[in-house]
């Protein structure tokens, strides 16, 4: 019965095509952190060089903020929200309640991506999964290297859908939406959004 419901929701809410904003590339893979071999690591990168990007975020108000939350907030503050060029997402391990070691792990992951995109302090992190376990850093860093070395970045629908799958945990379907909008002078722009979440959901972010 539960499986049938999952299939219905997937069919009902997951798009089969989409429009995506210019200047972004996405990539994902199964790094081996998730036990079932599912996608668990993804990167979105800004490749537009005509302007510096603007970035903003809201984070949990839980007193025990996970390492990627603390790290990303610091990066946004130090860059005053300018020049963020990558977001790394991983699922399977939340890197939460992991103390100083967790923060060091987060810094290593972001530092690796900063080098690969050629821009320091330009990477934000998001992690989800089990609380109270350290990141399996070897698997994640190897996965990041593979994404870049094997040129797995793309701009197509499948790439975006797979990225949205890579941040899923108990989700029964990936949450991806995209739309074009017009400004009053007729200029069109695009919004694409993705989310994950199925349980431990009552956010109060600021």
């Amino acid at each position: 019965q539960s499986a049938a419901k999952s299939i219905d929701k997937y069919a009902q809410f997951v798009p089969k095509s989409g429009v995506f904003p210019k200047g972004y590339e996405v990539a994902s893979l199964a790094s081996g952190v998730k036990k079932n071999g599912a996608l668990d690591l993804g990167i979105i990168r800004n490749i537009n060089k005509s302007k510096k990007s603007s970035a903003a975020a809201v984070f949990t108000t839980n007193r025990f903020k996970a390492a990627p939350v603390q790290f990303s907030r610091k990066v946004l503050q130090s860059r005053s929200g300018e020049g963020i060029d990558a977001i790394v997402v991983n699922s399977g391990c939340a890197n939460a309640v992991t103390g100083e070691l967790g923060l060091q792990d987060a810094e290593k992951v972001a530092g690796q991506v900063n080098k690969l995109v050629g821009n320091s302090d330009s990477t934000l992190l998001m992690s989800t999964g089990v609380i109270g376990q350290r990141l399996q850093l070897e698997k994640i860093t190897a996965g990041i290297d593979r994404l870049f070395e094997e040129k797995k970045f793309s701009t197509d629908f499948d790439g975006w859908l797979n990225l949205s799958k890579s941040i899923c945990t108990t989700d029964t379907f990936p949450k991806l939406i995209s739309s074009k909008f017009a400004l009053s002078d007729g200029t069109e722009y695009t919004l694409t959004g993705m989310a994950k979440g199925a349980g431990m959901i009552c956010p109060n972010m600021a």
């Binding site: 537009n48 603007s54 996970a66 929200g81 993705m194 431990m200």
Partner: protein
């Protein structure tokens, strides 16, 4: 855990993007609940890379309000998908609290109803248990009673399909409707999407919260998440 991001090719001034996103999140992701638990990792971020060639959007742009509304509506769509996928959920429920003296009170009441395990269990069981809704309103942690006057409160179930009567009144001006049409209540509660409408009658502020029912499956999923 809730994670998400919104990316756009529109150029938006950095100092404007943060309040724009915060405003959108306060009306979307901060108005959802599956189980009342707040994660250590919840994050929503937004990047505007300016890849399309147009004037940078700032607070003085003629399109600023339009873009703000578009981002907010977009965020609502994304947030609602999370609720639709709530662990074990079989119903998507909109809790609409309107005509409140204060927005914050409308939000507290909507959130309290959305987090009530007994309300959510009743919705799963298709039981028109309006008493639990009223009970949740009563224990909402309001700072004062400016928005809550028991003689003015109205509570209804609202059908989300085309069936009529669309609204089934459960409490009218504080008076419980003991002769409610149980058949109609049952029809509305069978719908996969439904609305609980609370009209406080004390002002003009409103807040919508989105929640889901609580099923046996939720316990099955979460009983062995770590192992």
């Amino acid at each position: 855990t809730l994670l998400g991001f919104i990316v756009t090719d529109l150029p938006i001034k950095t100092s404007v993007l943060q309040p724009l996103l915060s405003g959108a999140v306060n009306r979307s992701f901060n108005c959802i609940s599956v189980d009342g638990d707040m994660s250590t990792n919840d994050t929503i971020c937004m990047i505007a890379n300016g890849a399309i060639d147009t004037t940078v959007i700032d607070e003085n742009s003629p399109d600023f309000e339009k873009v703000k509304d578009q981002v907010t509506e977009f965020a609502k769509q994304l947030a609602q998908l999370v609720v639709r996928d709530g662990e074990g959920a079989t119903k998507f429920v909109t809790v609409n609290v309107k005509n409140s003296a204060e927005f914050k009170d409308a939000k507290i009441i909507a959130e309290t109803i959305s987090n009530s395990m007994l309300v959510k269990s009743a919705l799963y069981g298709q039981d028109a248990n309006w008493g639990r809704i009223l009970c949740a309103i009563g224990y909402s942690k309001l700072e004062n009673l400016a928005s809550l006057d028991e003689s003015k409160i109205n509570v209804s179930f609202v059908a989300t399909d085309d069936s009529t009567p669309r609204e089934l009144k459960l409490i009218v001006n504080g008076v419980p409707q003991f002769d409610i049409d149980e058949t109609r209540a049952s029809e509305i509660l069978k719908l996969p999407d439904l609305e609980v409408l609370v009209d406080l009658g004390t002002g003009s502020e409103e807040c919508q919260f989105w929640t889901c029912d609580l099923s046996h499956e939720y316990v099955t999923i979460n009983g062995d998440y770590r192992s």
